[in-house]
Amino acid sequence: MQARRYDTIARRVGYLARSLVPLSLLFLSGCSAHGLSRQFLLFRPAGPLSAADLRFTILDVAVMLGIIIPTAVMTTYFLLRYRKTRASAAYDPHWSHSNLIEIVVWTIPVLTVALLGYESYKGTYAVNPYDPRMIKTAAPGRAPLAVDVITTDWQWLFIYPQQHIAIANKLVIPRGTPVVFRMTSATVVNDFFIPNLSGMIDVMPGMRTKQVLVADKTGQYKGYSANFSGSGFSWMGFRTHVVSRSGFTRWAQAMEKSPRHLDYAQFNVFAKPTTNTDGKTYAFSQVHARLFDQVIKGVLAGKVYTTRLPPPGAA
């Protein structure tokens, strides 16, 4: 009696638990219906680089789903059709080999990998940060804008060496112009990431990495450091303003009047560990033309921007 009651309860809880799976899926689809689509930054590329990333994502997912969905359906069908409680199904207790099936199951993944491998080869060269082919076709013959990127603990500094200006925690670029970034870190590894505009490229101390992008649409885009760099990391965002070319010229001229200047000594003050909790930006004029190289040279010579020991017993 007791056992039967227990069985009933067990069955009910079992049903409940099983129904949670489809329910949880329903809940998720409900979430995405609430006008969130604008928030899917990776699906809203604003330049050829991120558009290429998205194109390859779609291609890859389509090819893989072409294999995975039939496999999942087949497996489920086999599991249900050949279940023990369905006595009428065929049962072959010794069958464990078939040359034909073996050939097919090796051929399918080999062909898939061959196709996706070729696409990967094409894609890797297409978005190669040192020679992105799509930039050349996107903005033919336009003189690129150089921006030097330096990360500190935990701020971004964007230097415009041609204009001798710099701005911290905010990036302003003109629309339709290739922007060539040289990036280095004064402290630890960060990762330069503007979801709508460019994928991630690491920003490393004592080294120089590059990224190139073109922005097609004016607007404001979120930028992040994607690689964990210490306790101020979560606040290490920057806004990217894509403005018209004339707007950019006006902005650069206004920047030249900034009272703050920046040379290596002043940079070392700026680079003291700072968590940018309120999203402050700083404008600099008369920026030293070779500041980027000086920072790399300094790091290579052993310059560190030491973190304080956390307060005693900080968990």
């Binding site: 496999t71 080999h97 402290t187 964990f228 979560s234 956390p310």
Partner: protein, 692 residues
């Protein structure tokens, strides 16, 4: 020696009262552990259990007991890592957007950034190295000797040493909770963040030495298992008859033996930077941080396959048993396992496509990574064709195995995405990647849970409770979907990983969904604990015979459950790949040996435990820079090893008459079919009288 920030004295190193955290959460954890510790110590003392504990567990060299202790360590650490996960999810759901509330002194959420960073670092380190790895090593320890018909591992003493070194690593991590702090730099510990300049505390040192000491244990264990599989197989157990789990254990331990030393070197050089002031991985003065990334991932990627290959092996054992049919494509399954193990050595750079390597390098590693998908895909197809024309029963182990198969499909989809650099650039350091590798580790966890349910009756003689096990499975699965589907989704919204504060409030619905998911996980953990409790309480009604599932196929199901300490009364002779099926079909399933022989067994020894204790004080001394303690402990280890090498009397003989008595006792106690699975070469077998 490097100058450290803060006080240092020759007697107690960097220790001071300030090293004890004054955080209420940690105080609560300490109180919980203290109460638990007092309860356990009280039980041992007042129940007069110390002698039992010492004789049967602490000094044992029995591979099954060592395996059980590995799994216990793994489960305790799995629980700790899970609590870390609950804390992280709760922090992220609370700290979403600039207007989110702050508690306990935090600006947003309830954890200070430095605390959150330690939690996620501990979560990763623990789950990979101190939960998944020990549980898998434990399962291999228990099952492999049984599957190949051996009495124990090739080196039982070495086996115990590996266990205690792993335990020391786990203990050091737990200690860091209450004394000092833990690394905040993630389980990868990318330099120069882990260098003295940016991590001046003891956290990174705890991380280094916990991993370093435990990985010595894992390396020794790998050598032991390889030797066991090659040298200790029963007569007739040819390579083409080796059970598939043993095959995957062999491939995975080849990976471990060759890759863990690389980790040792990487952490050793980082340790040299932190202790001697060298510049291997610093940003300047000739150091190269990318060298660290290379070395770490040259170990790190094979480590991923080190944990997943045994899971594949478990699925390959469980699915045929519950489909009541041989595994489809045995030879291709073995080939696929070794292909995965081989390719695992040439894919490590895909962990840092974004470090600015040239397109030719990235393409090479991209295609190498995709090639892993070929043998993995073959495995999925082979499992599907194993159930084709089978008779599938959905008992708990089968549910977990099928769940693992579907997780593998999802993980394969996202893995093939990440293998492509143009896609990788857009999601590399996002929560999409976090969701991907959790999906893959879910394959491991599902495999482990299936294997624990599957082989539990073999080790303990009774089954785990089925209804509770099924509830555990379904709540766990619902939790997995609820946590990781939103996580994939928020990756496409550009959400990066390791955030203690989320600047974008649009992510809140997804964080809430994940919090609900973690709640479902909490419910599933409750059912898991309850399942263990109910199963032990009602063990009399859950008793099983030698073949606990009635349709098991491999050799280990021949000997009685629970397995006697000598495994097989008479070393079995193997005739077929699925030996038990062969014997069942020959009517030999319930045969007993005609006569018994003396058995030589290894003696218990406290030496591994002593070396473990010295390793613990060594690790502690190194973390806190107490040099006299370090020197004394190191000397202690050397002297113990030398002293042990003079001990000649390491084995004892179990007389044939005693074996007969034990076997008869087991036969009397085991009801049901196949309960008297004693063994012997076929020449000395006789079918048992029916009706007895």
């Amino acid at each position: 020696m490097v100058n450290v920030q803060g006080p240092w004295s020759p007697l107690i190193g960097r220790l001071s009262l300030g090293a004890i955290p004054d955080n209420p959460i940690i105080a609560g954890a300490f109180l919980f552990s203290a109460v638990l510790g007092v309860v356990i110590l009280g039980y041992l003392t007042f129940g007069h259990k110390w002698g039992y504990l010492w004789r049967e567990w602490l000094t044992t060299v029995d591979h099954k007991k060592i395996g059980v202790m590995y799994i216990l360590i793994g489960l305790v650490m799995l629980f700790r890592g899970f609590i870390d996960a609950v804390m992280m999810r709760t922090q992220q759901v609370l700290a979403d957007g600039p207007h989110s509330p702050g508690f306990l002194g935090a600006a947003h959420g309830y954890l200070l950034p430095y605390h959150f960073d330690q939690i996620y670092s501990a979560h990763g380190t623990i789950m990979i190295l101190f939960a998944a790895t020990p549980i898998l090593v434990g399962l291999m320890n228990i099952i492999v000797p049984l599957q190949i018909g051996a009495r124990d591992m090739a080196f039982p003493y070495l086996n115990a040493l590996g266990l205690w070194l792993t335990a020391v690593g786990a203990a050091l991590i737990m200690l860091s909770l209450f004394l000092g702090d833990f690394s905040h730099a993630g389980w990868v510990g990318l330099t120069p963040l882990t260098e003295m300049a940016y991590s001046p505390g003891v956290g990174v040192d705890y991380w280094i030495w916990a991993i370093q000491i435990a990985s010595v244990g894992t390396t020794l264990g790998a050598a032991n298992l390889i030797a066991t599989i090659i040298k200790m197989r029963a007569p007739g157990m040819t390579w083409s008859r080796l059970p598939i789990f043993t095959w995957t254990s062999l491939s995975t331990n080849i990976i471990a033996l060759t890759s863990f030393p690389v980790l040792g070197v990487a952490l050793g050089l980082l340790g040299a930077d932190r202790y001697f002031g060298t510049h291997f991985f610093t940003a300047g003065l000739g150091g190269n941080l990318m060298l660290y990334a290379d070395l770490f991932w040259i170990w790190g990627h094979p480590e991923v396959y080190f944990v997943i290959l045994p899971a594949f092996g478990m699925m390959s054992e469980i699915i045929p048993t519950f489909a009541e049919k041989p595994l489809f494509g045995y030879a291709t399954m073995v080939a696929a396992s070794f292909a995965i193990a081989g390719v695992s050595w040439s894919v490590w750079l895909h962990h840092f496509f974004t470090m600015g390597a040239g397109p030719s390098v990235n393409t090479f590693f991209s295609i190498a990574t995709m090639i892993v998908g070929i043998p993995t895909g073959v495995k999925v197809f082979n499992w599907a064709f194993t159930v084709y024309h089978g008779r599938s029963r959905f008992e708990t182990p089968m549910l977990w195995a099928v769940g693992a198969l579907f997780m593998l499909l999802l993980g394969g989809l996202t893995g093939m995405m990440l293998a492509m650099p143009p896609i990788n650039y857009s999601v590399h350091n996002s929560v999409f990647v976090v969701a991907h590798f959790h999906t893959m580790l879910m394959v491991v966890i599902y495999g482990i849970m299936g294997a624990v349910a599957y082989w539990f009756p073999k080790v303990f003689g009774f089954k785990l409770d089925e209804p509770l096990g099924k509830r555990f499975f379904w709540f766990f699965t619902a939790g997995t979907i609820m946590v990781f589907i939103p996580m994939y989704t928020s990756g496409f919204m550009g959400m990066t990983r390791r955030l203690d504060y989320i600047a974008n409030p649009a992510l809140l619905p997804f964080e809430i969904a994940e919090e609900i998911g973690i709640g479902l996980y909490v419910v599933s953990v409750y059912y898991f604990v309850r399942q263990l409790f109910v199963s032990v309480r009602d063990r009399a009604s859950h008793r099983v015979g030698a073949d606990a599932w009635g349709s098991a196929r491999t050799l280990e199901w021949l000997t009685p459950s629970p397995v006697p300490f000598y495994n097989y009364a008479v070393t079995p002779r193997v005739h077929a790949r699925d030996e038990l099926v062969w014997r069942r079909e020959q009517g030999l399933e319930a045969a007993t040996a005609a006569h018994y022989e003396d058995i030589l067994m290894p003696k218990n020894t406290p030496v591994p435990l002593v070396i473990g204790a010295f390793a613990m004080t060594l690790g502690f001394g190194l973390v806190w820079r107490i040099w006299w303690l370090t020197d004394a402990s190191f000397l202690g280890i050397i002297l113990t090893v030398i002293a042990r090498s003079f001990v000649r009397d390491t084995d004892y003989v179990v007389r044939a008459g005693e074996v007969r008595k034990i076997e008869q006792g087991l036969r009397g106690n085991t009801p049901g079919t196949g309960g008297d699975g004693t063994q012997g070469g076929v020449g000395v077998w006789r079918p048992q009288e029916s009706g007895s």
